[in-house]
């Protein structure tokens, strides 16, 4: 015990001598808090180093990129820093789409417009994703969307193509699935229960463009009304989805879906396009991974998918920040970023860039994701809602009730609409406009 104490004291004394380090001098420092880990972290560091040794060197700007944990942690840190002392905020923070609602209400946020940032080359779908009544909230950087993953080896052996609509899917599901002699399903056609992310596409795409709540899914102000009930879009989706489920080859699980896919126990799944590298990694060559557009709810559901992912939010409007942001969305950086990480490149000039097109041809799985974004209606956006997770769970529970317990579709839709309406009303009461 005594030895332990002595040892700890000695160590501590030694450590106290480590004083704070020196500051970069003479150059403007642009501090970025980011959440890129693993291969994305390496790519991000390289992009930053590249800036510091070229443009930065020239203009006297140094990017200091600080990893601040997962995207969610970065948001927590930004909020904590803002609540303690605005000056402790970084110049730029990379946050994901779930931060939009917080950022719209944050008085310390600097809009890209005020920082005079050039956004004409950025793809409109990525812009719309971050557009609010106050204007564009942040500058898109790591964009992604929902993507349909399938076991290409299996599809090829059955000479099937990925389904274009949910009805197509229901038709081929019995072929994709497999049962053992006892009637137990050994391979499902699909695994997962759609929630907010998936419904953004399944409902948003209907009739070319549909909203879940008013104010353009909450982007243009605090929503006041649920739309999917009177529009009949949710009802329509549930009808098709139930038909798919009734084939007996949909596995209503909410966790471990990608492992089930990698193990070959489900023929398809829906996941973010940013998971592509991880999915291929986990499958480990057991079969070929194919990607396709997310199946449409019906023939008229042509809106495609919404763009999500991450963006840079600014807390400073200096010229240095402008230079840095414009560097990150430039062609070269976006190309390297997309190639190294699998995120969607958002610089429109790249879609004619032969080098980038060559990369897409070599990586068909990436190409599909990019094409899906290009063919989607940019106005299809994610929902910005308070109590987002309550709504998330309500979607999943009601879909399960409809498929497994035979709950009436209209009743389920009504229950969901009521729950969301109440969350909206409560929120409005607390945040009187």
């Amino acid at each position: 015990m005594k030895k332990m104490i002595a040892l700890s004291l000695l160590l501590m004394a030694g450590m106290m001598l480590f004083a704070r380090g020196s500051k970069e001098s003479g150059k403007t420092v642009v501090e970025i808090w980011h959440s890129n880990s693993g291969p994305s972290g390496t790519a991000f560091d390289e992009i930053v180093d590249d800036f510091n040794s070229t443009i930065g060197e020239e203009k006297g700007i140094v990017i200091e990129a600080i990893y601040q944990g997962l995207a969610n942690d970065v948001l927590t840190k930004v909020k904590a820093a803002a609540s303690a002392d605005i000056s402790s905020l970084p110049d730029i923070a990379q946050l994901d789409a779930t931060a939009c609602l917080d950022m719209r209400n944050a008085d310390y946020l600097i809009l890209p417009e005020s920082a005079d940032i050039e956004i004409s080359e950025i793809h409109p779908a990525a812009i719309e994703a971050l557009m609010s009544d106050k204007g564009l909230l942040g500058v898109p950087f790591n964009a992604s969307s929902l993507l349909f993953y399938y076991n290409k080896t299996l599809f090829d052996s059955l000479s099937l193509n990925p389904p274009e609509t949910l009805d197509d899917f229901a038709a081929i599901a019995p072929l994709l699935g497999e049962k053992d002699s006892t009637g137990k399903v050994t391979r499902y056609a699909f695994a997962g229960v759609p929630a907010t992310y998936e419904l953004g596409a399944f409902i948003g795409a209907q009739k070319g463009l549909s909203y879940i709540v008013d104010e353009k899914n909450g982007h243009m102000g605090t929503p006041s009304k649920v739309l999917f009930e009177e529009d009949g879009t949710f009802r329509n989706f549930l009808g098709h989805w139930k038909a798919l489920y009734d084939t007996g080859f949909v596995n209503n699980i909410t966790s471990g879906i990608s492992t089930e896919f990698a193990a070959g126990r489900t023929a398809t799944m829906l996941a973010s396009s940013s998971s592509l590298t991880a999915v291929i990694n986990t499958v480990g060559g057991r079969f070929e991974v194919g990607t396709a557009f997310v199946p449409m709810t019906d023939e008229e559901a042509t809106g495609g998918v919404n763009i999500g992912g991450g963006a840079f939010f600014l807390f400073d409007s200096s010229d240095a920040v402008k230079t840095v942001i414009e560097y990150f969305v430039s062609q070269d950086v976006q190309m390297k970023w997309a190639e190294d990480t699998g995120y969607l490149a958002i610089n429109t000039a790249l879609y004619d860039n032969p080098e980038y097109l060559a990369f897409l041809d070599e990586n068909p799985a990436f190409k599909v994701a990019t094409e899906q974004m290009l063919q989607s209606n940019p106005a299809v956006t994610s929902i910005w809602l308070p109590s987002a997770y309550q709504i998330y769970y309500s979607f999943q529970s009601e879909i399960r009730a409809v498929t497994e317990d035979g709950k009436d579709i209209d009743e389920a839709v009504h229950d969901m609409a009521t729950l969301i309406q109440r969350a909206i009303d409560e929120y409005r009461a607390q945040n009187i406009d």
Partner: protein, 270 residues
Amino acid sequence: MPAIALALCFSVIPFLKTFVSSFLTISQSGKAIGFAGLDNYKTLFEDKAFISSIGNTLRFTLYFLPLNTVMTFLAAALTRRRRKCTWIMEAIFITPLAFSLSAFALVFKEIFRGEVSIINRILHTSLLWLDRPGSAMAVLVILGLFLDFAIDYILLTAAFRSIDRSVIEAAEIDGAGEVRKLFAIETPMIATMLSITVFMALKDAILISAPVMILTEGGPFRSTETIMYFYYLEAFKSGNRAYESAISSMMVITSAIIMGIIAVLRRKDA
């Protein structure tokens, strides 16, 4: 007293602020815009999800508390006297202390993952553990047991071994059997430590949130969403300040009441 100063700085004062704000209407950006009285509490209790989170927490406590007590008590009682091989068991029983919550959660996810999981292979079942409400709760309880086991084991063993030898010898002379000795003589003597471990387990059960966050995220279908995880979601994910302050105030008051009851009961015993 440094303890008091620290507690004041980092626990009591922040909490009092929260308590006051539970009676106010507070906007997303944190400004108080009016006095709400008990309205925040009223809406909270009208929320079905909150009510079900209370149910989930009670269920967790109901399974966890007895299991934890019996298991740690058994382990400590069986190894309370040193024999030739007790050191092996001691070594095994204290090892969980080295594992952090996140480490255990990750391993448990793997052990109970999907249909083709190692646990199904061992038990010859084909249960989707983490995807069925009942079994997900069971996994959560097991994880809870692992988290508390080692520390409770050490505390109880320490208590057993600090019992005065002469008392036990006296009982032996009286011809008391092993079992009788354990329950009639030794257990009452470690009553203080036993009640502390039970109390801590109760506290851990009522406040459980981090294991839920890492293991099940409240799923499937909100069946493992406990009060504190609900709180975490509302406070951090939804930014619902009204719920945030109302729940935390309520939790502390409830626990103060529980503590009060325990204190009164103990006084009666003595």
